[in-house]
């Protein structure tokens, strides 16, 4: 994967003369100190991120954390005070007005929290809006808009007006409008936050489904940690204009790194987040007989594998010793073994567990990669984050 979008040392001060604030930040002052001393609001304080091509990159933070400011700097709805934003290696901050418009028309598009549809135009006119601004002929943009509308499942609604649609459908129109320009980068600013919980879940699933085929690079802004976990490949958690923690959903929950981040992870349903690979241990070969090999982990039973690496039988702890000392492997192996794929979520793994019997973990092709014991699964599901257990309160926000 290469990086589509690279943000380097980005600052945003809301002021016409930001220099005093920048000097203070350079001397190590934080957002509150700058505001107390100069009265200027710091939106972004030295933010650097790398968004890989095709990633769903979540920027998560509470209100005032600077997450929306960051998103709006990417297409310069907010003008950054300092720093660089590289889109495929080209610095957006340095573009003149004309080139910036070209980038906005063709390479970065945006989905808004409150949809921002034009109420006086039909759905299809809204969808083709970006193409119209680009100067595309009516027929071409209309057929493109129809295609995109059917992608989001609204092909029947093209000639209705936005006020005739429900919230979820309106946001589908907003999404279609963003997709119509065929931009590589999609900025979604709290795109699902204004929707009802059920519709929001439906839209999240829809976005995941679309992303599998579209493979856009999506910068998704949200204040909802669960949403970030569900959608994101990578999550950046922001507070006071700074990135507090960046990482994959699993790594953030297992190693929050600070009390602030840990506070978000408390309510996380680990059974749906972590997969079998996160709790498995690798098996070591302990015995072999002909084409069959026995592997076992520490303090667990073992599995008999054939020469392709596929599991053919289970060997429990008692018979493991006999196998070690040269017993007949075929006779000891039992065929009622359990196996899960390594990307199965712990919830599904737990459902399969039978007593204390260990499970074999396989890769996508069915080859053995490790062993999971039910006690590890239980421990992982019920774990709490290591660093504190405070909820995000006013104190932790401004600490």
């Amino acid at each position: 994967m290469t990086e589509r979008l690279q943000i380097e040392n980005l600052y945003k001060i809301f002021s016409n003369q930001p220099q005093p604030a920048m000097d203070l930040l350079a001397r190590g002052a934080d957002k509150d100190e700058v505001q107390a001393e100069t009265g200027m609001v710091v939106g972004l304080n030295n933010v650097s991120l790398t968004v890989p091509t095709g990633a769903m990159y979540m920027i998560m933070g509470l209100s005032g954390s600077g997450k929306s400011t960051l998103a709006r700097c990417v297409n310069r709805l907010n003008e950054p005070t300092a720093g660089r934003i590289l889109l495929d290696g080209e610095d957006i901050v340095a573009l003149n007005d004309h080139d910036l418009r070209e980038v906005r028309r063709t390479r970065i598009s945006m989905v808004f929290q409150h949809f921002a549809l034009l109420p006086n135009r039909t759905v299809i006119e809204n969808v083709e809006f970006g193409l119209k601004l680009r100067g595309l002929a009516v027929k071409k943009r209309r057929s493109r808009a129809e295609d995109v509308l059917s992608i989001v499942g609204l092909d029947r609604w093209g000639y209705h007006f936005p006020h005739e649609l429900s919230g979820g459908m309106r946001q589908r129109v907003g999404l279609a409008r963003a997709l119509a320009t065929d931009a590589d980068v999609l900025v979604m600013d709290e795109a699902f936050s204004a929707l009802d919980p059920l519709i929001r879940t439906e839209m999240q699933d829809e976005l995941l489904r679309l992303q599998r085929s579209l493979k856009k690079t999506i910068l998704f802004i949200t204040h909802d940690f669960q949403e970030a976990l569900k959608l994101g490949n990578v999550i950046a958690i922001m507070a006071d204009g700074k990135v507090m923690r960046e990482g994959t959903p699993q790594s953030i929950v297992s190693e929050p790194g600070s009390d602030y981040v840990a506070a978000f992870t408390n309510d996380v349903d680990r059974s749906r987040l972590f997969d079998a690979a996160s709790v498995m241990q690798a098996g070591a070969p302990v015995a072999s007989a002909g084409r069959v090999k026995v592997v076992a982990g520490e303090g667990t039973g073992g599995f008999a594998l054939n020469d392709e690496g596929r599991v053919v039988g289970r060997i429990d702890a008692a018979s493991l010793d006999r196998a070690r000392s040269g017993g007949n492997i075929d006779a000891e192996a039992q065929s009622d073994f359990l196996s899960v794929r390594r990307d199965s979520k712990l919830l599904d793994v737990a459902r399969m567990c039978r007593g204390t019997q260990d499970l074999a973990v396989t890769d996508e092709d069915g080859r053995f990669v490790g062993i999971v014991s039910p006690s590890k699964v239980l421990a992982a599901i019920s774990a709490t984050s290591q660093a504190g257990s405070k909820r995000p309160t006013e104190e932790t926000l401004h600490a």
């Binding site: 070209e102 945006m110 039909t122 000639y159």
Partner: protein
């Protein structure tokens, strides 16, 4: 004891009359240039209004009301016009209507660009706003003094006064309408790469139209009021009927002038108010849906299930 009159040492009246006299003498070509288009358009429209036969006029006005508003208001328009004719004040009513139509034209030509410009530049608005404040707080009556000094008396100077008095609401509402457009929608325009011209014509003006039409309604009513007041500087029309009635202590004549004015004002108000209602946005879709034409326009095959996955979920 100090009397208030002892303090009367400021000869403001002298200064002003000197200034106005100087302006009237030295800037005469300017005022003739201002008068010229107004005079020509007014003469033209007035000529048409009076040349059109009564039944044709009623029909045209009813049709206009039907297109701009609805059937009920079209019927109301017919009743108003017939009543005015029945009272025998048809000709002066047509003169007043010509005064108002001309005024609306000039108010739009002057007011819309100023309003748009004010909305896009705070600096311009900071200059325009105090001027509008003064114009709108000045009683219509007071306008007549400088107008008479600079333009003379008669119907055309009267029309100048009408235009000056009626333009401010349109400027104000145009500015307000554009500034009130939802910020997120304007940002959406920018995010998709609209330049300033596209932002104005694709987003700001279309969305400001209901408010601008509300301003037009106010302009029409102000023009109506002013077209009556300017009778005092010799403008013709319904105002003159009232003025003559008062002068001769002829209560009946003054009353029919007044009644005709009220009827005409109600008619214009109803028509322009209906225009300003935001319902019209979906008129096209309602018509299409009524005749099932939306299917043809959306180029979809028949026989496809109507409820799509999303349609049934949402």
């Amino acid at each position: 004891m100090l009397e208030a009159d002892d303090l009367a040492i400021f000869p403001v009246d002298v200064w002003i009359s000197d200034a106005v006299q100087w302006v009237a003498l030295n800037l005469r070509p300017l005022f003739i240039a201002i008068k010229w288009p107004i005079e020509n358009l007014l003469t033209f429209i007035d000529g048409i209004m009076h040349a059109t036969p009564f039944p044709v006029m009623v029909l045209v006005m009813a049709l206009l009301a039907y297109v701009l508003a609805n059937r009920n208001i079209a019927i109301f328009t017919v009743i108003v016009l017939v009543l005015i004719a029945a009272m025998g004040v048809w000709d002066p009513a047509m003169t007043t209507l010509a005064l108002i139509s001309t005024a609306i034209f000039f108010c739009a030509v002057i007011g819309l660009p100023i309003g748009i410009w004010s909305a896009r530049s705070d600096r311009v608005w900071n200059i325009v706003r105090p001027v509008l404040d003064v114009m709108q707080t000045t009683p219509t009556f007071v306008y007549l003094v400088p107008v008479v000094m600079l333009f003379g008396v008669g119907t055309v100077p009267g029309e100048v006064a009408v235009v000056i008095a009626a333009a401010p609401p349109l400027i104000r509402f145009t500015n307000l309408g554009i500034r009130m457009v939802d910020h997120e929608i304007v940002e959406a325009g920018m995010a998709f790469g609209a330049n300033r011209r596209q932002l104005l014509w694709e987003i700001q003006i279309p969305m400001a139209i209901p408010t601008i039409l509300g301003g037009l309604n106010q302009t029409v009513l102000t023009a109506m009021v002013m077209s009556v007041v300017v009778a005092m500087i010799g403008a013709e029309g319904l105002g003159l009927i009232v003025l003559q009635g008062i002068g001769r202590l002829d209560v009946g004549r003054a009353a029919i002038g007044g009644i005709a004015i009220v009827l005409l004002a109600m008619m214009l108000d109803r028509i322009t108010q209906k225009m300003a209602e935001p319902k019209r946005a979906s008129a096209r879709s309602r018509w299409l849906a009524a005749f099932n034409l939306d299917r043809i326009f959306s180029r979809r095959d028949e026989g496809e299930p109507v409820a799509t996955q999303s349609g049934s979920n949402a």
